[in-house]
Structures are given as C-alpha cells and as structure tokens.
C-alpha cells in the first residue's frame, strides 16, 4: 500500500518501526536504512548472522510451454546450465548490450521460472518482458504476494536450523513451522539464504528469525557488505548504458551460438575489448569515495563507501581499461581534493580461510 508520500511499505514495515529503525525512501519504498547502526550490523553479518527485509524486490512468474524460449531470448546467461531446483545470476539486456537489470532466475520446473529483480526496476522489467511475451508464455508480476527475508552470515544456517546446501539451489522448507522457499542466494559474500514467504506470514517469519539470535540489518549495511565483495548495484555500477563486458560480467553472458537481445553487440565489445572497465579500488589516503566523484585518469566513481572490515575508503568505478591492473594508482577528486587510490583485484574483501 502506498503511503501519502507515494511510497510503498513492505509487510514488515510495522516491525521495523517497532525496532526503532531509521526509515528512508529507497526505490519508491519506505525502507529501514539502519537499526542500531551500519557498522555493528555489517560486523554481525561478517561474524555471525544478520537479517534483511528485501521484500521490496520484485518477483515475476513466467510460465508456460514457451516460457523457456521467451527467457532464452531475453536473458544473457544460458538456462541450459541449470535444472529444476537451481537458480542462476543473469542479466536482462537491451539492444546495445546495456543492462536493463541484473536478477536471479529460479527454475521451478522446465515450464516455470521465477525472476527476483531489483525493486527500482521491477515495473520496467515486467513491462520489458511482457511486451515480448510469446503465445504460450504467461508473464505475471507477483511481487505483492511475497515477502522476502535475507539471512546472511557464517552462523546463519546454524541459527535457522538449516542444513548446508550448494549455492544457487533452492527448496521448499520451513522455519519454526512457517513454510517458505529457502533460496541459497544472497548479496553479502557470506553463507546464507533468502527466504521467500507468503506476504501475510512475513511478519511472523521475521519475528521467528530474530528470536533465533539473528540481528536485524538495514539497507546501509547491505550496501557496505555488497561493495566489499564487489557485487554490482544496478543504477550505480551497471545501468542500461553500461554493458556487461565492461562491467566484468562477461561470465554471465553465454555468447556462443546464442541470440538474446544485444548478444551481437556484446560479442563485438568482447572481441574488440572494452575501452573502460569497472575496477575496484582501495583508498591509499584517508578519504571516502562517493558515487559521481571524477577519477583524474578518466571515468568516475560508481559506488563508494567506508569499508568496516578494512577501515578504509573503498569503491568501484569505470576507468580506462589499460589502467585496470592491481597496484595501479588512480586519483579521485574528493570534493576538490585529489586523493590517491590503488586498483585491487575483486573482491576487495575476502574472508580469511582457516
């Protein structure tokens, strides 16, 4: 239900307010940016377990004998690589090879697929797919029917009483008697699940998850966590005007003998080599890079923040391709002051293996 300001609220809105969350507008939704604070929430996910309300994300159900054919013509990755019960990270691309959205597709059966898409693009994605619908494929926006709760962190499975399972798989399950789809996916670089639940049971599931000692976390920590592991954010790092090859997402573009939207253009870019690449960097000086700051060598910062794990400024940005070598120095214009950063391999933060 939209509020007076035209913002949507998730089924967990009242729960966030009760927990004292700071609510902010995000992608047309009124969402918790933090409860206790970005840093303690970030650390909880790296060290134990944290829960995020991601019910604002869109869900699109694509069903029918030609559902697979429709998606094959629109998505960059090869659905032939997954089976029922498996999920895949993929891109919805435009004619120029630009990225309409990045999403995860779940194969429910060979004739039915579920797409979980970014909140800010949910309407555009739905329209994009709907306009290209085939006879024999039914496309429905089912976003309002579900709540989505991400539970992430090294102790997330233990806290929820779930068994280990391979990443990018999913199965029906339950937490304390509440039925949900247990998806082995996430946006933090940690072990974890995303629980898809009927909207009217989302509040109950949220309470049960927190009662198991999982810390509520807001969008602030979600952003710092994903940037430390270099997961791109659509709208910042990838857009309809940036292509998958330059963004370093060639690995989700199955280009051999496939004919999805923009495939020819992507093959051309791949062959010629992109002019700019999305690079990850760490500040060498005390300064926090922010989206939109110019990079002296060319390009600009697309995402920047303070890394709680490195205790330094980190970011990503498009820089001339020849500069994208670990150790290369770049200079970022931090509100008029030149500040040095060093290009690093992705991910910026890697958990220590013991």
């Amino acid at each position: 239900m939209p509020t007076e300001a035209g913002l949507h609220r998730t089924p967990l809105y009242e729960h966030h307010v009760e927990l004292g969350a700071r609510m902010v507008p995000f992608a047309g939704w009124e969402m918790p940016v933090q409860y206790e604070g970005v840093i303690p929430e970030h650390l909880a996910v790296r060290r134990d377990a944290g829960a995020f309300d991601v019910s604002h994300m869109g869900e699109i159900d694509v069903e029918g004998p030609r559902a697979r054919e429709l998606l094959d013509s629109l998505l960059s990755n090869d659905l032939g690589r997954i089976d029922t019960g498996q999920a895949q990270y993929t891109l919805l691309t435009n004619e120029r090879g630009g990225i309409v959205d990045d999403l995860i597709v779940y194969q429910l059966d060979p004739c039915r697929f579920f797409l979980i898409v970014n909140a800010s693009n949910a309407d555009a994605d739905f329209d994009w797919i709907r306009e290209r619908e085939l006879r024999g494929s039914d496309v429905r926006d089912v976003s309002d029917e579900y709540g989505l709760i991400a539970v992430q962190g090294p102790r997330s499975l233990e806290r929820l009483g779930l068994e280990e399972a391979p990443a990018f798989t999913f199965a029906e399950g339950e937490i304390d008697g509440i039925a949900c789809m247990v998806n082995r996916t996430g946006y933090t670089g940690e072990k974890g699940v995303e629980l898809m639940v009927m909207a009217d049971e989302a509040g109950e599931l949220w309470e049960r998850v927190l009662a198991r000692g999982v810390k509520p976390c807001g969008l602030g920590a979600r952003d710092t966590l994903r940037l430390e592991v270099c997961y791109p954010l659509h709208g910042n790092d990838i857009t309809p005007d940036t292509d998958a090859i330059s963004a370093g997402l060639g690995w989700v573009c199955a280009l051999d003998g496939r004919d999805f939207t923009g495939a020819d253009e992507l093959r051309r870019i791949k062959e010629q080599g992109p002019e700019q690449r999305l690079a990850a960097f760490v500040m060498e000086e005390k300064a926090i890079p922010r989206q939109g700051m110019p990079i002296a060598e060319g390009g600009e910062v697309t995402s920047g923040t303070h890394s709680p794990m490195l205790d330094r400024g980190i970011g990503m940005g498009y820089v001339p391709a020849e500069l994208v070598q670990p150790g290369e120095e770049i200079t970022i214009d931090v509100r008029g002051k030149p500040r040095t950063a060093k290009i690093v391999p992705k991910p910026i933060y890697k958990r220590e293996e013991h």
Binding site: I39, I288, H306, G313, R335
Partner: protein, 132 residues
C-alpha cells in the same frame, strides 16, 4: 557506545548543530548530540590546518559517516589553535562523547562579540523541537 541525548547548559549553540565552549578569547568547537545522531557513526574527520582561519557560518571541515558527508560549520570566527587528533584517528569518539573527548577544534576568537548571536541550550532545544 553512543552517548545519550543532552545539550549542556554551559555551551552556546549554532543553528547548524554546532556547539562552542567559550573560555576568554578562545573557544572549543564541536557538533551536537543531534548532529552526530543524524549522521550515524562517524568514520572520517577532515579537519582544517592549525593556523588556518575559520569564518562564522561557513564550513571549516567535514565529518563523514558510512552513508553521508556533512560540512562542519563554524559557529564563531577565529584562528585554529588545535585540532583534536584523537577524532582524526578515531572519529567514533564524537558519537561516544560529543561535548568532551569528541571536540573538533580549538580557536582564538577574532570577533568575540559574535558569541551574542549564538543560542543558549534552551533556545537550541526549542529549535530541535521545531525540526521534529
């Protein structure tokens, strides 16, 4: 550990959420509890140089949290005598103790009569009520 909300009586306040502790012709400056709470945990403090001049109502430095950057507005004009290095090294000190250990700079006032323009604690609290 974040401090609990307070606005000490002995300080003077600027409407941009800065405080000044006046001691003769010198003053210690910082940001109020409200300012640090709005920003969240500070992770970076960009101070002015010692010896620099700060002008009333204009920015003399920056404070950043994970999510946001905020100009530090000088409540009074003066010359910078000292910068709090503890806050440069551990910016979260401001969240823990905004009126004590979390002070930002110390200045020699160039126009002490500007103090008359500042708010007392009661007037600043009324301002915050209007913002709420």
């Amino acid at each position: 550990m974040a401090a609990s909300e307070s606005y000490p009586e002995e300080l003077r306040y600027h409407s941009e959420h800065d405080w000044a502790r006046i001691e003769g012709d010198e003053a210690t400056l910082g940001i109020t509890w409200y300012a640090q709470d709005s920003l969240g945990e500070l992770v970076h403090y960009e101070p002015p140089d010692v010896g620099a001049t700060v002008d009333k109502d204009t920015a003399y430095g920056e404070a950043e949290s994970v999510k946001a950057v905020s100009d530090l507005v000088a409540p009074l004009s003066g010359e910078v005598l000292a910068v709090n290095q503890k806050v440069v090294d551990e910016p979260e000190t401001v969240n823990e103790d905004p009126y004590g250990e979390g002070w930002l700079i110390r200045v020699r006032l160039t126009n002490p009569s500007e103090v008359d323009d500042l708010l007392d604690a009661a007037a600043y609290k009324r301002l915050l009520e209007e913002l709420a």
